[in-house]
């Protein structure tokens, strides 16, 4: 018994040698993981790509704001999804502290008020902010009555919806949740009962593959919106506009990465996904019920040409 085992180990060790010899450093590359699906799958995609080149990879979970200081001082090494809408300030702070911008994905992101489609049956014009505001009544709850309730993101996600509601004179009250899961629990419960609800949502994420709905259009923001009172629907207020409808999605890395693992750095730099590919990654887990590791393997085999071009 023992003998076979040792032989097996020795064989494995020899088999692995050549692959390991190729890479510049055996130090593990630490990939940041956040708590939403597409990020988890894409970080596994990157991890599996790097492992196929012989690098050692580790995954470390992190908070979406704190991760950038960890990337700046080298505690973690690479992040595949940095969102303009909710992370812009922390991202820019990270750049100042020595983090590196590793390029922008083709995918665009959006964070805005969102309604399930059945709301349109009772309020056909709810797709725009004026139309939505006209039916504010159907969104009211016991606490917010007579105004409608807008279920907003956690207070520190860099958005002040109470200010926007005021600037646009809307009949809504923003109730902020403590975390994203709370938003989805409310949405699930309302969706099952077809109760009108308007809440904060973003794309790409898994919600679009599970729930049918759309974003509410607000005036597209321009710098003038936040400086010039005269700009926008309300002549007496600044901030009377929405969030950008196509915001960037970037990768971020530790500044020492290019030096420590040049081969890995080139893969990170080349990696580039679009909205459909991100949605597909999320769907494999959220709808098909795969584990994030299996989903990443599946995603790679579906996009083999693309992946090969990054690995070159």
């Amino acid at each position: 018994m023992n003998h076979t085992r040792i032989t097996a180990i020795a064989l494995c060790a020899f088999g692995a040698m050549p692959a390991l010899a190729e890479v510049e450093s055996d130090e593990p590359i630490i990939i940041v993981q956040n708590n939403w699906t597409s990020q988890l799958v894409l970080s596994n995609v990157l991890g599996q790509m790097l492992e196929s080149k012989g690098y050692t990879v580790e995954y470390t979970p992190s908070d979406s704001q704190l991760q950038f200081s960890a990337l700046a001082n080298g505690d973690m090494h690479v992040q595949v999804e940095a969102w303009e809408g909710s992370m812009k300030a922390a991202f820019e702070k990270g750049l100042e502290d020595g983090m590196v911008d590793a390029g922008t994905h083709d995918a665009v992101t959006r964070e805005e008020w969102w309604i399930p489609n059945y709301v349109l049956e009772v309020c056909p014009k709810a797709g725009t902010w004026e139309g939505l505001n006209a039916c504010a009544d159907i969104f009211k709850t016991a606490e917010t009555s007579p105004k409608g309730r807008f279920l907003g993101p956690p207070a520190d996600w860099g958005k002040n919806y109470a200010a926007r509601i005021e600037a646009l004179n809307m009949d809504f009250v923003a109730i902020n949740v403590g975390q994203a899961a709370t938003l989805w629990a409310e949405l699930q419960s309302a969706y099952d009962r077809e109760e009108p609800i308007v809440l904060f949502n973003w794309t790409p994420n898994f919600i679009e593959s599970k729930f049918e709905g759309q974003f509410v259009d607000f005036p597209e923001p321009e710098p003038a919106c936040f400086e010039d009172k005269a700009w926008g629907p309300n002549p007496d207020a600044t901030g009377d506009c929405g969030a950008p409808s196509s915001a960037w999605l970037k990768k971020a890395a530790w500044s020492g990465m290019a030096e420590e693992w040049p081969g890995a750095w080139s893969v990170v730099e080349k990696m580039n996904v679009n909205n459909a590919q991100i949605a597909r990654a999320a769907l494999l887990v959220d709808v098909d019920g795969m584990s994030q590791e299996d989903a990443a393997t599946q995603w790679i085999s579906e996009n083999q040409d693309l992946v090969d071009s990054w690995l070159k």
């Binding site: 908070d63 709370t182 699930q188």
Partner: protein, 666 residues
């Protein structure tokens, strides 16, 4: 079992006697009326008495934040920086972690040594169980670990186990050392004891921010945060154990010529073993309670997976992961307890070497067999997904179905309670000027405890005001007060019911154990689905956790009443009702009050977790401090929660002591 959170017992207060009229002779209600009238008058004259002016807030928060930034970045002597020291410490702690990782799930990659196959760990658990506690424990441990494998939680379970098996010995040895030191030196005891009170009253999450600033992200900071939280109960138990060793035993040790070292390790510590093991049990429980929270600073494993599942609205998966944590907790608890109570194996004496080492031999055999199996069949190293089961989707469906069906009945009740009761209560709480609160707390403290209590309580409340946390603190008190009232209304009757019949007691206690070990994050999702975001959701989520001590201590208190007392009551012709209200409840009062105390502590610690639903209380302040690395905000909000807990504790204990004297019990 949760360790009673005991504040140092308040010493008997000197009576305040003035020559003319003693303040103590004025009925409390009149004192209160005068304070309220004066406070309202003052706040009518000066707005600052209602809301402390923003400009006058002591900027302690910014100072603390900057201090920690400085400590983490620049502090040091010459070229040696604090940063280097913390990094060195982190590297040191990383060693045992890395070895545990190698062993449990990673394998040594450069040598291509695989990790222990799951079969060997399950068999190992069974052998360990048999060694310390016989066949029943063997079966039990193995099936708990088998659960992890069968439900596809193996790798994450091992990640969690890695931190736990490193954190527990650390916390136990630091606690042991601090406890012994505190027993030997009065000065150390004077510093350490109140510090432990404070540490335990501060919610877990408040520790995370400074740990992140000093130690960064990852397994090691998670380990440190866990040890900090899990250590105080151990130290407390050590102090208690050494102090309660009967003097005869110590004397016998001294007479037989023990050196001080021998006296401690060979006499006193074995004599206090039972209490010491309670400490170990507490360390294990607290370590596992930290599993989910530690994943916020980079711990991998079941805790992280659980939060991710919740984020993806996979409640069923989260429940299975939560149960995984409970399984690990139960196995560790049972095994350590059985090990402590293990009788000396007299049967083994004089038997062969092979018999005496049968467990070690069996484990060796299990290792060889499982490695061989793993080399032949991949299934034996990690169970592949197709062989695992999950009831996640079914559970999700069930919860959604229940939410949909019951919503129409729950909705009106929710609206009524929220609009008619909670919102008015909240507005009322917010409208009370802080001067009135300081005055009332002072008057109550003076009457119930004495001058020391009064000054302490007033100081703590004033601190919350001066550091600018008044409004979140009021909202916290409002939520906790509402929750505690309901907890007691539910817990007291259930406790009484359980104490009447062992048939009821057994399932009730089992449910209590599960509720407390189960990660409380999971309760949040169904609560939100049924009750929407709002104060009622917060309160109900707190209830699920904080009712437990109220039930448990009522039950224990009633069970501990001597039979003679009850027989005397029956002999005197008391009706069952009279027996309960005139005899049993008064006699059990100290325990019931301790239960109330614990309920408040639990509710306060849940506040940081219900912040995820959405609130504006201190819990939210703590939760928000983490992503922004605002150490001052986190620490001060955490201390404010501790302050509220201490004030409540002192007032309740004072009242209970008075009451006991009045009834002539205790």
């Amino acid at each position: 079992m949760s360790q009673p959170f005991q504040m140092p017992r308040f010493l008997a207060a000197p009576r305040l006697l003035s020559p003319r009229l003693s303040l103590a002779q004025v009925p409390l209600i009149w004192q209160f009326a005068v304070i309220i009238a004066l406070g309202l008058a003052l706040s009518a004259l000066w707005g600052g008495a209602l809301r402390w002016p923003e400009a006058w807030v002591i900027p302690m928060r910014g100072w603390i934040t900057r201090f920690f930034e400085w400590l983490g970045e620049d502090a040091g002597i010459g070229s040696y920086k604090v940063r280097d020291l913390t990094r060195f410490l982190a590297d040191l702690l990383d060693q045992p972690l890395t070895w545990a990782e190698y062993l449990l799930y990673r394998g040594i990659r450069p040598l291509d040594l695989p990790p222990l196959p799951w079969v060997s760990i399950v068999l190992g658990a069974a052998i360990l169980g048999h060694w310390v506690g016989g066949w029943r424990l063997a079966l039990f441990s193995a099936s708990c670990l088998l659960y992890l494998a069968v439900f596809g939680l193996w790798r994450d379970g091992m990640r969690t186990l890695t931190i736990v098996i490193v954190a527990v010995p650390f916390a136990v040895s630091i606690g042991l050392w601090l406890g012994i030191w505190a027993v030997r030196s009065r000065r150390v005891a004077a510093v350490v004891s109140p510090m432990f009170d404070l540490m335990q009253a501060t919610p877990h999450m408040a520790y995370l921010v400074p740990v992140v600033i000093l130690f960064g992200f990852g397994q090691v900071p998670a380990l440190i945060a866990t040890v900090i939280f899990a250590m105080p109960p151990m130290a407390r138990c050590v102090i208690l154990a050494l102090q309660t060793v009967p003097p005869e035993i110590t004397e016998a040790g001294t007479m037989s010529g023990c050196t001080p070292r021998q006296l401690l390790w060979k006499v006193q510590i074995p004599a206090g073993k039972r209490i010491l093991m309670l400490g170990v049990n507490q360390v294990v429980m607290q370590t596992l309670a930290m599993v989910v929270i530690a994943s916020l600073v980079g711990a991998t494993g079941l805790g992280q997976q659980l939060l991710t599942s919740l984020q993806q609205l996979k409640l069923g998966a989260a429940v299975e992961q939560g149960l995984g944590i409970v399984m690990i907790a139960i196995v560790l608890d049972r095994v350590t307890q059985a090990w402590a109570n293990r009788p000396t194996d007299y049967a083994a004496r004089g038997r062969s070497w092979r018999f005496r080492h049968r467990h070690a031999l069996a484990f060796g055999a299990a290792l060889i067999v499982s490695f061989a199996l793993a080399a032949l069949f991949k299934e034996a190293s990690v169970l592949p997904k197709r062989l695992t089961v999950t009831f996640g989707t079914q559970m999700d469906e069930a919860v959604r179905w229940f939410a949909k069906v019951s919503y129409d009945y729950i909705q009106p009740v929710r609206d009524f309670i929220t609009v008619e009761m909670l919102i008015p209560l909240r507005d009322f709480c917010l409208a009370v000027p802080w001067v009135v609160v300081v005055g009332l707390v002072g008057a109550a403290g003076l009457r119930l405890g004495g001058r020391g209590t009064a000054l302490l309580c007033m100081g703590l409340v004033l601190g919350i005001v001066l550091f600018g946390f008044w409004e979140p603190a009021v909202l916290t008190v409002y939520l906790v007060f509402s929750a505690v009232v309901i907890c007691v209304c539910i817990g007291l009757p259930i406790g009484i019911w359980a104490s009447r019949s062992p048939r009821v007691a057994r399932p009730v206690m089992a449910i209590c154990d599960t509720l407390q070990t189960f990660p409380s994050f999971i309760y949040l999702i169904p609560v939100i689905m049924l009750l929407k975001v709002g104060d009622l959701s917060n309160i109900v989520a707190i209830l699920a956790y904080a009712t437990v001590p109220s039930i448990r201590y009522t039950y224990l208190g009633l069970r501990r009443i001597p039979d003679v007392t009850i027989e005397a009551a029956i002999a005197n012709g008391a009706t069952p009702r009279q027996r309960l209200f005139k005899v049993e409840l008064p006699v059990a009062l100290p325990e019931i009050m301790l239960g109330l105390n614990q309920t408040i502590m639990m509710a306060l610690s849940m506040v940081a977790i219900t912040a995820l639903i959405g609130s504006r209380d201190l819990g939210q302040e703590i939760y928000r401090a983490l992503p922004t690395a605002d150490t001052g905000r986190g620490i001060l909000a955490g201390l404010s929660i501790a302050a509220i807990g201490i004030v409540a504790d002192r007032l309740i204990q004072g009242w209970a002591n008075k009451r006991k004297k009045h009834l002539g019990v205790g």
